[in-house]
Symmetry: C2
Subunit: 391 residues, 2 copies
Amino acid sequence: MDIRIKSGFFMAIFMLKISNRSNPMIAITRPTLLLNEKQCKTNIQRMANKAKRLNVQLVPHFKTHQSAEIGEWFKASGVESITVSSVKMAEFFAKSGWKDITIAFPFNMHEIPAVNKMLEQNITLTLFIVNSEVIHRLNETLIAPVNLFLEMDAGYGRSGVSTENMDKVKELVERINTGAKTKLYGLYCHPGNTYQTNSVDEIKGIWAEVIQKLTGVKTALGAVGESLKIRIGDTPGCSVVEEIQGVDEIGPGNYVFYDLVMNYLDVCNESDIAVAVACPVVAKNEGRNEIIIHGGAVHFSKDHLFDANEEKFFGEVVILEEDGWSPIVEGIKLVSISQEHGVLMANSAIFEAIEVGDILGILPIHSCLTANLMKSYTTFKGQEIKHMESL
Amino acid sequence: MDIRIKSGFFMAIFMLKISNRSNPMIAITRPTLLLNEKQCKTNIQRMANKAKRLNVQLVPHFKTHQSAEIGEWFKASGVESITVSSVKMAEFFAKSGWKDITIAFPFNMHEIPAVNKMLEQNITLTLFIVNSEVIHRLNETLIAPVNLFLEMDAGYGRSGVSTENMDKVKELVERINTGAKTKLYGLYCHPGNTYQTNSVDEIKGIWAEVIQKLTGVKTALGAVGESLKIRIGDTPGCSVVEEIQGVDEIGPGNYVFYDLVMNYLDVCNESDIAVAVACPVVAKNEGRNEIIIHGGAVHFSKDHLFDANEEKFFGEVVILEEDGWSPIVEGIKLVSISQEHGVLMANSAIFEAIEVGDILGILPIHSCLTANLMKSYTTFKGQEIKHMESL
């Protein structure tokens, strides 16, 4: 055996030998998205507890799970208001019984008929505004009032009005306040630059700056600004930041499952990751120590990370157990994917231990995109949980 | 106006002004995958003609479109046998009436029950073999015989038995031939390395080598090899290679739509691309010349190309017309995507010409993954064509 392998590895191989080919409660034949229901509920409850402790309202983002049933688990933890990333997703969760929905995407004016249908059903909707044309159109065509967040860009640089651009902020605020159908609710910021950090301190630094800039905008708006709510959205910050004076609401989403990106950012423990894709081993390439699995871009998307040697990879391997999975197995990685194929590169000992026909677990780089592609979840009890894309 | 803009651009802007905000036959409100039915049928017929001219059988790969209805267009061009990339896809097309299906993926032995169900319905199935365990299992558990392709690796390095490894080839052939349920059909090669080339000549060179290696394997097998069919699968080669002496069958898929990857490889003209995603413009960032569209990783996946300046991009912009779209607009590109957001970077003239509320067309980098995510097609007549993932 390869002596470079880390301790714990022998146990892992042993587990592979005994458990992987035995008969689990779920008979897996194809790529299957496994959901650790217990861990998922722990993640949901932990963020709910944190929001309570810090005295902010949690308005979780449902773009990660997109599931009516998982939505109910949030409801059980006290959540009443939710965030989504498209009008289509708002329609889905409105049908699932949610009455207070924020659509966290610069509002697309072609969606006004769909918004009016939800307003007819007395759904409270909060939309994102970044430009005056849309405010005008909303006031012309909505059948009932909506809340508006000014989406603010505090340095991330994707969408939103720059916090530096007070002229535009004031212009938008005035237009909103003079419209009968548009009610200014607050300032929203998704500091997605926390995804590009190298340490938790850096994430905290970004949040400190974002909070300072948002409260600065609020102050600069004078009396109009006083009642505005400040909401910040990213999972990295919501998971690790404790200093949130000035923030009223948080809207993270990914924490429901977490994933390897979050683990690499030190935002979650590896054991917090609540989803893994079970993939059948279909071939082994002796000589190259490569293992081919059924599991590719149509299951994982093409997000990747770089390991310590700057090598790109698309997922980590875990050994499936009856009610969970092992820690990440060292010495094997998902190194390339095409439409349906995944190629794992392994050291010799691991290569030898894996057989054609084994089912391996793969922790995803980005759980939101993986869930969106897999379109349903299977719990350890074999229960299938639907994703909105499968309906 | 910016004088660096290419000729033809003024016309493009003009078209943008006149057509884009007028009333097309399809009212687009959300990201919508437009299908140019006429071009798609031209692509289908052109490959059928080429196969006829070169006297090879065309067994098209359906992993790109995954649509029962588009499948019928192939049938109209004379196609009777098809290729798919998963057992799930085989089940779908068997239900859609196809009777002769190759599953072009190293066979996953957990799928034997699903294969037996299709055999019960008298579907002729051809599977991929790369290892002896699977041959043994097939012979033990199949209810009727299947054809087998030995998947060969002639240098691409993903899956398949190396053409250099005649010992393994012979071992597999012998095992297949001694089994009652396994009938050796031929040698299959997907030379995916044609996707990494810089010229059509390089693609032709790869094919020449692949053909030489496959015919070499056939010869080395002696009498057993004589009846074996040689099939090669990639769209780049099938589109541009004319010298195919020794090849019996071709199995390309992507050519049904083509995409920017194929255009960059000089394998198709830009005008051959038969799909574009219509995306609403939701915001403009003055100062940065950035335009935000609703169109992100859940619509395009995350495939990208690099432009002449080595800048990564995720799609090209076209102007939508009533029954087609313009050539690619120079001076604007889809430069970044997140889950639902797309960010276009434009030169000043184009930036000014585009308004919030416009619907832009985006040519995808990789049409297979885009179609898999969008899950339905809309023709210029407003007809919706289903993808198997929407059923």
